[in-house]
């Protein structure tokens, strides 16, 4: 079989187009900043960005002018304050205006689930008494045909492209993930195209030795990118820790447009690719390398 392995710049230029709806998921864990930086470098525009927590990764895409709309459920810098680029876009339309479509976490999870299962909606016991349905016409109600109770319902979310980061994958895109799983599986199955980015490329034999750990199968994957440290300042369990100092510093970096733009210049536009980013980061990234805590082996024999 032909390999799907390609460099990040090729994967982004082939599969991410202006105007696309895109999801780069990962709940705190496995957030693929390397993909976002490449999207910024290739100056994609008018994207609709989907994510439960826009986090620093979408703050950067929004501040770089790549997005026209955000579909989300919690927009903050975890433990460190607001996302200033997002706020500038919402409050002052700088560098451009940003449309918001807002849910709670469960609403976003349900949208991806309906999208993955190709259902017209997903029901949930939620939103009564909240003002969220009043500002988002996509949160509706449905009457259960069996019990006749009223439930909340949200429509499917089917992005054009999902970027899924994994600890390891083979060249076909069978991707294995451990640690926090977030909504990676739902987002991948909901999307029309999937790019898998992996810390490590392994042989199919390694994947087959532990099939329960495969979250995303090759059959839905279009491209595979090998990119160590692609998630910094986010983390990859068993590879490197979250760079909490970076998240705290982002508060100052993003606070003004000029320091935000200076960051993009130095760390995105003037950097060729992730390998150069990692090299320039030097000790700041090296110090995050994970200590080892191996699990006990399991017996797959019969």
């Amino acid at each position: 079989m032909q390999t799907k392995l390609m460099p990040m710049n090729e994967a982004i230029s082939r599969f991410v187009n202006d105007g696309d709806t895109i999801v780069i998921e990962g709940f705190t864990h496995l957030i693929c900043f390397a993909a976002a930086h490449e999207i910024i470098r290739q100056r994609r525009r008018d994207l609709t960005l989907c994510r439960l927590t826009p986090d620093l990764i979408y703050d950067q895409l929004i501040g770089a002018g790549c997005a026209r709309k955000l579909i989300f459920s919690w927009a903050g810098n975890p433990g460190a304050g607001p996302l200033y680029a997002l706020r500038r876009a919402v409050e002052q339309a700088r560098p451009r205006s940003l449309e918001l479509e807002e849910y709670s976490h469960y609403g976003m999870v349900a949208r991806f689930t309906a999208g993955a299962a190709k259902l017209p909606f997903y029901p949930l016991r939620n939103y009564m008494g909240s003002d969220l349905p009043g500002v988002n016409p996509n949160i509706k109600t449905v009457v259960c045909p069996f019990t006749h109770e009223e439930l909340a319902a949200v429509p499917p979310l089917n992005p054009d492209i999902a970027v899924i980061h994994a600890q390891r994958a083979d060249e076909q895109g069978n991707a294995q993930i451990w640690g926090l799983l977030g909504v990676q599986k739902e987002a991948a199955f909901a999307a029309r195209n999937v790019i898998v980015v992996a810390e490590e490329i392994v042989g199919e034999k390694v994947i087959r030795s532990d099939p329960n750990r495969t979250l995303v199968p090759a059959l839905i994957v279009k491209a595979v990118v090998h990119e160590p440290f692609a998630c910094h300042p986010s983390y990859a369990q068993g590879h490197y820790d979250r760079d909490n100092d970076f998240y705290l510093r982002w508060r100052e970096v993003s606070r003004s447009e000029s320091s935000f733009n200076a960051y993009l210049d130095e760390w995105v536009y003037k950097v060729k690719d992730r390998a150069e980013y990692v090299m320039r980061m030097g000790e700041q990234i090296a110090r995050l390398r994970a200590r080892q805590q191996m699990c006990g082996p399991v017996n797959y024999g019969y």
């Binding site: 709940f27 864990h29 439960l52 919690w74 469960y106 909240s130 003002d131 979250r242 998240y247």
Partner: protein, 250 residues
Amino acid sequence: MEYTPNELMVSQAARQLRNGEVVFVGIGLPNMACNLARRLHAPDLVLVYESGAVGARPDRLPISIGDPALVTNSLSVCSMFDIFSYYLQGGLIDVGFLQGAQVDRFGNLNTTVIGDYFHPSVRLPGSGGACEIAILARRVLVIAPQSRRSFPERVDFITSPGFVDGPQTRSRLKMPGQGPAMIITDLGCYEFQQGEMTLTSLHPGSSIEQVRGATGWPIRVAKELETTEPPAAEEIRIIREELDPAHLYI
């Protein structure tokens, strides 16, 4: 022993948790309260994080709700679909912990916007999991610093419903959870009588006049008003030395 308002709120919150309960843990002070309770009177408290960690035993203070230390040595790590559908909506969560930029008379919480939704004066982070926790957890505890601005009679936006507008509304709307059980502020503790926030315990050093000045409506006061037991030396030691040695929250 000297203590900070946050240390007092954390110790009060920890005391509301009973051994063996299943707690849906939020970021910041709620996280400290749960980990304090686990080290003291509630060693069998089960900590569930919306990020997917169940039975977490973090050996460092998680700065984010998805810290890798929540995964290492936890009982189970599952998808967010599992957490929200099977654990929360499935009725397994005894206590949900929430914070609010605004808290009102009926215990409704706002973490979405200050001002009009479409032209906000301040855009806040939004719900996260708070809306469904407020609706589905068996009971809800809230930690929030109190001021007249942050405790208006009616929040600008109900992100997470408390008793909405009165004592019967939750059951009329068929919300599975019982709603807010206690609001813990830097001035006192409040419980709910007929769905309305009622001062039941005043912290040492604060007065009813202070409480009235920091509340946007005529606050109810319980007939038998108590004085809050201040944090013990051991509680303060654990908070400072073990839970937050870098003093991020305290």
